[in-house]
Symmetry: C2
Subunit: 414 residues, 2 copies
């Protein structure tokens, strides 16, 4: 894409009301725009990163048998009454509509919808396990929205629900889900700072597990066992005797973190109120056993910004970068224009996604913007580089640029 055609503008200053690093950088770079507290719009560059995260998650969910669906945000009151959460769910948006005179909840999670949905399919024991997921917008009436994209009132989420005929089958599936989650966080560039963290399992299971990513911007505190590479959250630290639940190690390291995902054995907590049952081999009716598995995509975008930046701007992991290459033309020289245009064609011909800074702006402005926007490869064409029949290439996390032939750069960026 030609940057001259991009309608967003970078800003030198952070908006005064943004105190978190992720929002500061994402707003300054024009990836996102704040609409009001806890509510953001994704602009072209931010949406591209979001779509890449989406594709990675979709890929891993499909790989372990998830079937993609799309459930609505408007939920019937009666479903939430059935589970007893209409009046008790913290941060549930609920309202009486003015025209249709119906009471709705705005979905913050979808157990109340997915259970009756699966129930309508009249499944037999042979049809299990079943796993359905969606990538969809969630709403939570947070008393205080904060931390930029880390805690919003409206955000995108992937939620998967699994259905089983036995606890053993849920246990097996749950372990596979944890494996899929590990892969996702690795693929989006957070694997090295993300810990499987023991959390409370509620009244139905001993533990659930959170995926916690280390960052000073996180609201959570976790206690890491460096022997097992797992952690415990603050909520259950006392319950586990301040020791690692796996090796009983008591020298745990305290860190701040943000919860980017969680997996939870619901068992019959939601199948029971709706009467979601199956007939087993003997024709006996039994309750369906469930698990649920969430990842916040908006939050992931914010977390990636928190983890991957330096004092000049963002440093996108290659897998989720809006564009792989930021091609920069310095100066108005005809020869430079020609070579830069050719480089743009050449890179795109190889299927490489390029943001081409073809604007009439100063070298300083362009290079500062490249640092702020943080694409993995910066390729510069200038009078200096064309004299040497080369272009200048620098990865965003490298100190120094290198002069290379365009064909070599294309190979490197592939």
């Amino acid at each position: 894409m030609r940057q001259s055609e991009l309608f967003t503008r970078t800003r030198r200053e952070a908006p005064k009301d943004e105190t978190s690093k992720n929002a500061e950088l994402l707003v300054r770079g024009g990836f996102t725009e704040k609409i009001m507290a806890g509510v953001y719009a994704l602009l072209p560059l931010g949406l591209r990163a979001h779509q890449k995260i989406e594709a990675i998650i979709r890929d891993e969910m499909n790989a372990f048998g998830g079937q993609e669906i799309l459930m609505p945000s408007l939920h019937p009151k009666e479903n939430w009454e059935k589970t007893g959460r209409w009046g008790t769910y913290d941060s549930l948006f609920r309202f009486l509509s003015y025209y249709s005179k119906i009471e709705y909840a705005l979905g913050p999670t979808h157990e109340e919808i997915v259970v009756p949905l699966v129930q309508k399919q009249n499944l037999s024991y042979k049809d299990f396990p079943v796993a359905v997921y969606q990538i969809q917008t969630k709403f939570r009436d947070e008393k205080r929205a904060k931390s930029g994209l880390l805690r919003g009132r409206e955000f995108s989420m992937k939620d998967l629900y699994s259905f089983h005929t036995s606890e053993e089958d849920l246990d097996r599936y749950y372990e596979r889900a944890k494996e899929a989650y590990r892969k996702i966080f690795q693929r989006v560039g957070l694997g090295h700072v993300t810990y499987v963290t023991f959390a409370s399992g509620g009244s139905f299971s001993k533990y659930s597990h959170e995926f916690q990513t280390l960052t000073m911007a996180g609201e959570d505190v976790i206690y890491i066992c460096d022997k097992c590479d797992v952690a415990v959250n603050r909520e259950i630290l006392e319950d586990v005797g301040k020791s690692c639940p796996e090796c009983k190690n008591t020298s745990l390291r305290e860190e701040k973190a943000v919860e980017v995902g969680n997996v939870f054995k619901l068992k019959t907590k939601y199948s029971s109120p709706f009467g979601l049952k199956f007939k087993d081999e003997k024709g006996e009716e039994k309750e369906v056993i469930m698990g649920c598995y969430g990842i916040g995509l908006t939050r992931l975008l914010g977390t990636i910004a928190e983890v991957h930046h330096d004092d000049k701007g963002l440093v996108w992991p290659e897998s989720v970068a809006p564009f792989r290459v930021h091609l920069i033309r310095l100066g108005e020289d005809e020869g430079v224009r020609k070579v830069a245009d050719e480089a743009y064609e050449e890179l795109q011909k190889k299927g490489i996604e390029v943001l081409y800074d073809d604007r009439d702006a100063s070298a300083g402005e362009k290079l500062n913007d490249a640092d702020l926007l943080g694409m993995p490869y910066r390729v510069v064409v200038s009078v200096k580089t064309i004299e040497k029949k080369s272009v200048e290439v620098k990865k965003r996390d490298e100190m120094d640029a290198r002069l290379r032939k365009l064909s070599d750069v294309v190979q490197e960026c592939l």
Copy 2:
């Protein structure tokens, strides 16, 4: 995909409360499920069709310079007060939240968000025209939801907003948008029954244009000029003297139709209340001129079902079919299994999307389901076909099946 793994089930009977053909067929086929009046979930087959429609629209929007963004559904009250629509917009969901004590609107359209968003970019006259679009969920508090997917309270929509420095530029862009819309309706299989229809332009323009698709399920009545292939909607029929606005022909044909898209010259209607201005070449401030362009995707899905079905079920156009081929194994014979499994591999290897009916069910049930689900190509493997070293192929809209070699069928389905 193996049909034995699909968690949805077809139903013999239509749900009693579904009186529209689109909802009846889409619910019976397991493409969609009703959650409550005007609110549906998309199940795997329905979501696949929706994603194909999405891809076609995205493709055409990008092709004429649209930049994709994603705006939120929670809107600040003050924005809607600024345009005077907080209390007057028919079917606006608005509510005071319980926890955050903020008054919100749930976005039924996005002028109130996109105008201040573009305003924040501080664009100069050189940066125009600008066009941004999103594919996003909309909410409308309809007094009565009806007609299945044709009029819901929650639905997906593509809305594009264009920004110009002159009316002439808007006029040019508007004609290009109409051209892009024609292509979209052709590509999704509705071109032959969709008419550009003159509608009221409101207080700012003489006309706007709707895209109306002929179907008995439509709530609108239009008057077609067969000479010009355009139509007039009922609202302005008197104003145009019951004649074609293009050729003045007065023998217009009355038809029922559903509005699948519209294009509207907003001019300064929304830029004015927000003070969205630009500085021209002389440094003078002028108001930005706008257009808006909508297509309802959920409605399009329902309309395609209304237009493309017969008494046995759906007949998906190839471009939006959830799968291109429905491969059906008849009987449990080992040889049949082997050939059917091979055909599944072979078709997929060529990149053809296949729904493989590998279930242990009767021939009648499988063939009835294939008709109901309506994939473009039905390929049957049975004892009869393997005796002739062939498979049986039938397009959904053909009367008779043909025996062919698998390799020929693969070629035909490509």
